[in-house]
């Protein structure tokens, strides 16, 4: 194919002329660049050569002050303390052998490893300090400072170190810091941070890292060959991070943790009319200060090999069958659906036969004729076997979901588990077998597949007593800075309403008051004299013991086969200001183990006089302090 040129002769001439002009322009511009290079490299070159050899312009970071963490009453929980780091600038060292020898004499170091580290840095990055030892003691610091003149290249860096004043207090909530990893850097998750920075890795420290961190400042400085600053060329001050005020009450938190001392479990306390978490304890705990110092391998090994997983926050990620606490759900479902007549009396003979199997009541001696009120107060299993069967599993599951169980509460912390509410469809999907009617009976008394987290439990009991309002639990009250107070305040956040009939809820509430206050109530160990407490006990069978062993005493059962104890409570019942969910793993009956903890906590909470011993116990409670 041939093309015809679309130029006419005049056009050709015009284009040629313009191209010539263009060429001229390009040559001129290049000329300017040549001249510039000549002036930089030839005329001013020697000056720059000297600068590049002797003096150098360097950037020094000014680290921001990380925001503090307070409790709801303004009590300081976490602050920063100076930590001293011994560093060596490889380029400035004279004799490596004598230097490492000198250092070894002053402080405890592995001189061979240190020498290797410095040698390697000498090759790659000789101007950046190599960190030899972190967290120097005052003694070591003094020894180095007095000898520093004879050891060129040795520097002391001061870095702020995170410090939890009460060590393990609210460890799972506060969380810890760790050195930023490459993946986080690549994802651009923490734009303000560089390699080597400590960033929030867990809990509130992670959740609000962006605000706590502050903004890095820096200096452009001119330094001489031995690294001393000759002058500061530019400076940009660092901006401190925002402070975080938690919703927890330090004293109540201490009490909760003390109650779990030497036990495995979780306690959550919440304000039923706002969703604010007043205490959130998980045992065993860890000490965030160990992370701030830079966790060594042994410490880390010990943490992760602990069979009780101290790093897990059981309050939000511990999933347990609800035990008899679930009877509240069944009662509400039955009342709403009209299946349960609250006045109808059902006979409990200590066991219930269904499809050829015997379903036992916890009380061998039987409850006799019970109505709904007594069934809840005495936690009669047979009553709920029968009702559960009548209501049906899918209806129970529907109500459990509606009451906020079996799904994440939306707390502002990561790692929350959803729990599980089983129904027919789930069974088929998960296990590929149809639902057995007998399983409905187990579900009705809170055993079987159902899984609930303590935080769901506390929100559930709160909603029952606040008229059915479901709040999003909150652990942060506000984020602010001293100069700009209350930059962001967290308001109560209503997620939904139960939408149940008031009279039905009143019936159940009355029964829960009875659980604690009536002579035959299973939760009577939580009773207080001045204040009316309402609650419900729960005991989770971890394993069904063979029948012949049924009479074995609790203390003879191996630890891992013992029951989990639940207790949920609110007080005062008429107008509750605090709701509690307590779970103690492998400890025994809810009414025996968990209810007294609730009593202790409520008593102190209302007396506003926290026993001081709580603090003493916490101080020496380390990671290892766990039941067996």
């Amino acid at each position: 194919m041939a093309w015809h040129s679309d130029f006419d002769p005049i056009e050709t001439e015009i284009y040629q002329r313009r191209l010539a002009r263009l060429t001229f322009f390009v040559v001129i511009v290049f000329g300017v660049l040549f001249v510039r290079l000549w002036s930089l490299q030839i005329i001013k070159g020697p000056k720059y050569r000297i600068q590049s050899e002797n003096n150098r312009i360097d950037l020094r970071d000014i680290l921001p002050f990380r925001g503090l963490i307070f409790d709801r009453n303004g009590q300081l929980l976490v602050d920063n303390r100076p930590s001293f780091i011994l560093g060596v600038i490889p380029e400035d060292t004279k004799n490596l052998d004598s230097l490492t020898e000198d250092l070894r004499r002053l402080i405890e170091i592995d001189s061979v490893m240190v020498k290797g580290k410095i040698k390697k840095a000498l090759k790659w990055n000789p101007f950046n300090p190599v960190h030899i030892k972190k967290g120097l003691t005052r003694d070591e610091l003094a020894r180095i400072e007095t000898n520093s003149l004879s050891m060129p290249g040795v520097i002391i860096e001061v870095k702020p170190e995170r410090h939890c004043i009460y060590n393990t207090l609210a460890a799972h909530l506060i969380g810890y810091l760790g050195e930023i990893d490459r993946e986080q850097l690549n994802r651009g998750e923490y734009k303000e941070n560089k390699l080597g920075d400590f960033v929030g890795k867990f809990g509130i420290e992670k959740k609000w890292h962006k605000y706590l961190n502050g903004i890095r400042g820096g200096q452009q400085v001119e330094v001489n060959a031995s690294g001393q600053i000759l002058r500061v060329l530019y400076q940009k001050a660092a901006e401190p991070g925002f402070n975080v005020y938690l919703t927890i009450d330090k004293d109540l938190q201490m009490l909760a943790e003390r109650s779990l001392y030497n036990r495995v479990g979780a306690i959550v306390a919440m304000n039923p009319s706002s969703g604010e978490i007043l205490a959130m304890a998980s045992s065993p705990a860890f000490n965030p200060n160990d992370f701030a110092k830079g966790m060594d391998r042994d410490g880390w090994e010990r943490l992760i090999s602990n069979p009780h997983f101290p790093l897990q926050n059981r309050a939000i990620s511990g999933q347990y069958p609800p035990g008899s606490v679930f009877k509240i759900v069944v009662a509400l479902a039955g009342l709403e659906e009209g299946v349960i007549d609250p006045n109808e009396k059902i006979f409990c003979g200590g066991s219930h036969r269904f499809q050829g199997r015997i379903y036992r009541d916890w009380k061998e001696k039987a409850h006799g004729y019970v109505d709904l009120h007594r069934a809840l107060v005495e936690s009669c299993d047979v009553y709920f076997y029968k009702m559960g069967q009548k209501i049906g599993i899918d209806s129970i599951a529907k109500y459990a979901k509606r009451l906020g169980l079996g799904s994440r509460t939306g707390l502002q912390l990561g790692d929350e588990e959803p729990g599980l509410i089983p129904n027919k469809a789930w069974k088929l999907r998960r296990w590929h077998v149809p639902w057995q009617e007998g399983e409905t009976l187990s579900v009705a008394v809170g055993q079987s597949f159902t899984l609930i987290t303590p935080i769901q439990m506390v929100r559930f009991i709160s909603a029952l007593f606040n008229g059915g309002i479901v709040f999003r639990p909150q652990v942060t009250r506000c984020i602010g800075r001293e100069d700009k107070k209350g930059v962001f305040e967290f308001k109560p956040h209503v997620i939904g309403h139960w939408g149940l009939r008031k009279e039905n809820m009143e019936l159940v509430k009355k029964a829960l008051v009875g659980v604690v206050n009536e002579p035959r109530g299973t939760g009577k160990r939580a009773r207080l004299d001045q204040i009316r407490v309402a609650g419900k006990t729960g005991t989770v069978q971890v394993i069904a013991l063979p029948e012949e062993e049924e009479s074995v005493q609790e203390r003879d059962v191996p630890y891992k086969f013992r029951d989990h104890a639940w207790f949920v409570a609110v007080a005062p019942a008429e107008n509750p200001v605090i709701a509690l969910a307590i779970l103690v793993e492998h400890s025994g009956l809810g009414g025996v183990v968990a209810a007294p903890i609730a009593k202790d906590m409520l008593e102190s909470y209302f007396n506003k006089s926290m026993p001081l011993r709580a603090r003493e116990v916490l101080q020496d409670k380390a990671i290892k302090g766990v039941a067996r």
Binding site: F30, L37, Q41, G45, Y48, R56
Partner: protein, 368 residues
């Protein structure tokens, strides 16, 4: 039908210049990343070799068809590249806070690089069809301005201000080349300045911040101003002969965050001195002059304009980058095409070079 004259007319000189620039680039990147382990540095020059290998392949591919096809399909091509640009805005990968990459599983492309070429093609088509010669008025420029405006706004929103700026400069060069009267240009510039505030309010805060940082790098004494000081020391300390390959102390000091991209020229200047930097400049000068020569020999307006547009792009990249690292212009973050590290940039530039080669090879198919 294969025409033997195609082989005969193959532009070996252009190819040789490109091979030289590619070799220098790889050698220099090897040196620049010699110390940066933090970026997986040693891999970078290997990857650059791959980019060049792919680039030469693309270059050869771009010579296999008659470039008049591009004239015919200019608009569809332009729209395809715009769609890719929109896609990168909607679902692109965010790196360093801006969305410019479109990921296709194994590899990612930067559609804004592609737009640079298709826009030049579309403008060349438009201008080659104009009846009158020269002295164009503002209304003649309405369509080109819309064509430039659409990708410009999108790229600013990414925000990739360096590329947006280059787009405007290259198009503006083309407009000046076809000779619009100066009054129209002045009117256009003043309306652009007046409408800037309206455009400004459509931007998000972070986009505004980036534009301010782009236009006033001196406001950040710990960033750009520091880089400039270091860059001047680096270039200056190279003296006449340079410090020698892999012996650049400034480079070893790890003083610049982008010594493999924006400041790669400084690395060369330190290690190879005035001799080395002038040699590289001469290579580029030769490349640009050679392109203009091809433009001169082209027998149709479309071909001429495409070549001028692409040559303008190379010229401005080089001028702005070298002025920036030597302190003649503010540090605006524009890399040196072909020489700095960058896959999308190398491949798209090689594609553009293939197009020039194509035009150079087919000058004989015209009948007088």
């Amino acid at each position: 039908m294969f025409d033997r004259r195609l082989i005969h007319n193959f532009d070996w000189i252009l190819l040789v210049i490109l091979v030289f620039i590619g070799l220098l680039s790889v050698l220099n990147l090897y040196s620049a990343t010699h110390t940066i382990r933090s970026m997986g540095g040693s891999q970078i020059y290997v990857r650059q070799i791959c980019w060049f290998a792919i680039g030469f392949l693309v270059l050869v591919l771009m010579t296999t068809f008659d470039y008049h096809i591009l004239d015919r399909f200019a608009y569809p091509l332009f729209f395809v590249s715009l769609i890719l640009l929109v896609a990168s805005l909607k679902m692109g990968r965010v790196t360093y806070g801006s969305q410019r990459w479109l990921s296709f599983g194994y590899f990612s492309v930067q559609p804004s690089e592609m737009v640079k070429i298709t826009l030049v093609i579309v403008l060349a088509k438009h201008f080659s069809r104009l009846e009158r010669m020269g002295d164009y008025r503002l209304r003649d420029l309405l369509r080109p301005l819309i064509l430039i405006g659409i990708p410009f706004i999108m790229i600013v929103h990414q925000p990739d201000l360096g590329t947006a700026l280059m787009l405007v400069i290259v198009c503006f060069s083309l407009i000046v080349f076809i000779n619009v009267n100066w009054k129209s240009i002045l009117i256009f510039l003043s309306t652009a300045l007046l409408s800037a505030p309206f455009f400004w309010i459509t931007l998000q805060d972070y986009q505004k911040e980036r534009i301010i940082a782009f236009l006033r790098p001196d406001l950040d004494p710990l960033g750009a101003a520091y880089h400039l000081t270091q860059s001047k020391i680096t270039i200056g300390s190279g003296l006449f002969w340079g410090k020698g390959f892999l012996k650049g102390t400034q480079t070893r000091l790890d003083f610049l965050p982008q010594q493999h991209t924006d400041f790669s020229f400084s690395v060369l200047a330190e290690e190879w001195g005035f001799v080395g930097s002038v040699m590289l400049l001469f290579l580029y000068l030769f490349l640009i002059l050679w392109c203009l020569n091809i433009a001169k020999n082209s027998k149709d307006k479309f071909g001429t304009l495409v070549v001028v547009g692409i040559a303008a792009s190379i010229f401005w990249h080089l001028t702005i980058n070298v002025s920036m690292v030597t302190g003649l212009l503010p540090v605006v973050g524009i890399p040196l095409v072909l020489f700095s590290y960058g896959g999308s940039s190398v491949i798209s530039t090689m594609a553009a070079m293939g197009l020039i080669m194509n035009i150079s090879m087919r000058r004989f198919i015209f009948q007088e």
